[in-house]
């Protein structure tokens, strides 16, 4: 980690090292089952980390996360900032020699972190997801202005991008009227059922 954090690119300061908890042997099985990715096949070649565009911004690199999952270090992984820094670009998935869908593992970890409702390192990512999906649920499509307002309420990240608002409007990139799909009701139903389906997994 020192090599990574000594670069001027990174904005993440190294965490104080702590004793890894070996508490959860079921963690690896759960991640593998839900993501469908054979995390136990990882042999630490670090190809995922070396190609990761946000690696310098992460407190744990993707290969380190794979290792920690294998060690059953649930808290370290689910409380990391790294799972919220992932941009889902899938470079790791495309290049993993063992065919591990690392991006899908990251998705699973984000879901598990939200389900657990404890100590999410960066709530802006999960707030954005919630605001976006709420908008889709209501309108069937994304209503940007409403979604941004909701995001700011949930995340309390009030001031970011406010200076961009006039330009957004001038360029007609933001509308104050929602775009409704006539299938909005069907979408609401699909949301309810999808939530039930997720509980069964």
């Amino acid at each position: 980690m020192n090599a990574v954090n000594s670069t001027p690119v990174g904005t993440v300061s190294p965490k104080p090292s702590r004793q890894i908890e070996w508490a959860d042997p079921a963690f690896l099985r759960e991640v593998e089952r839900r993501s469908g990715a054979p995390v136990s096949a990882c042999f630490q070649c670090h190809k995922c980390s070396s190609g990761c565009p946000v690696g310098p911004e992460m407190d744990l690199l993707s290969s380190q996360i794979m290792r920690l999952i294998n060690l059953g270090a649930k808290d370290e992984v689910l409380e990391s900032e790294a799972i919220w820094s992932c941009a889902s670009c899938e470079a790791c998935t495309a290049r993993c020699p063992m065919g591990i869908d690392i991006a899908a593992v990251m998705d699973t970890l984000r879901m598990m972190a939200v389900e657990r409702k404890a100590a999410i390192a960066d709530t802006r990512g999960s707030s954005f997801n919630r605001a976006f999906l709420t908008s889709v649920r209501w309108h069937g499509r994304v209503f940007e202005a409403g979604m941004m307002a909701l995001y700011k309420l949930i995340s309390r990240d009030f001031f970011s991008d406010m200076e961009k608002l006039p330009k957004m409007l001038a360029k007609r990139k933001l509308s104050f009227l929602p775009h409704f799909s006539r299938s909005a009701r069907q979408v609401r139903k699909a949301f309810r059922r999808a939530e039930e389906e997720e509980k069964k997994r």
Partner: protein, 304 residues
Amino acid sequence: MKYAFYPGCSLESTAWDFDKSTRALCKALNIELIDVPDWVCCGSTPAHSSNASLAVALPVINLQKAQAAGFSEVLTACASCYARLRTANYKVNNDPAERERAQRITEKPYDGSVKVRHILDVLVNDLGVREIRKRVQAPLKGLRVASYYGCLLSRPSEVVAFDDSEHPTCMDDLVKAAGAQAVDWPFKTECCGASLSISKTGVVNRLGYRLLSMAHRAGAECIVVACPLCQLNLDFRQPEAKKQGKVSFPSSTWERGDSDVPDIPVVYITQLLGLALGLKPDALGLDALTISADAIATAAAGGR
């Protein structure tokens, strides 16, 4: 040629110029687009990071609608919609459990047979570069263009790729067909930060600066994209990306001596081809760009 068209939410708002230019270009090339009736959002990144069942069901609803309207192929312009629709198809076709789950959620069967195509794929593989070259009326002579493909059109290759996933060339071929010069550069499929744009703007600005700086050093005067998020992150956020670049990449790093990147227009491939075909800037929504591409339009109109 006739396709069902799935515009997606970005094309209704932040990327309205991509919508306008795609429709104008397709009209000029005799490609008929019929909107998927009452389409709904594909769920994008928030769905696949929050609820795996929803991430398949939302695209499936749209594919069912296209099928019910009698189409066997759906065309998308947005790279994210494209990737989500392709991924849902891939899952439905390869995992019976996913197919059954999607059916339970949408209350309708779906056989996974509707083909999802990206506009680039259709331009290069259905219409053909040669056909497009024939119709170029205002060649963009001498314009040096970096083609930026991003993530979602390239990875993972078994699901989305219609070109090489690490070194794609289809957009370069279109750039050459438009009479411009395609510059070779190493960041064709690097990530722009995508949806971190809102939750982690600093990350996106740093990644944007790296891309802009590399394109500049490769000699590009213009970047051409086929994704609404790539365009937003590189164009709309370009002024901040450059400011951030000066702070994050001091002269001692590999980006050495190059903090001063000029304004680089970032246009959609549909806008660039539209100009070469002689369409008016207004018809292509060039006024939506933050970094003006008027110089390119004037050069195309007057012939350099």
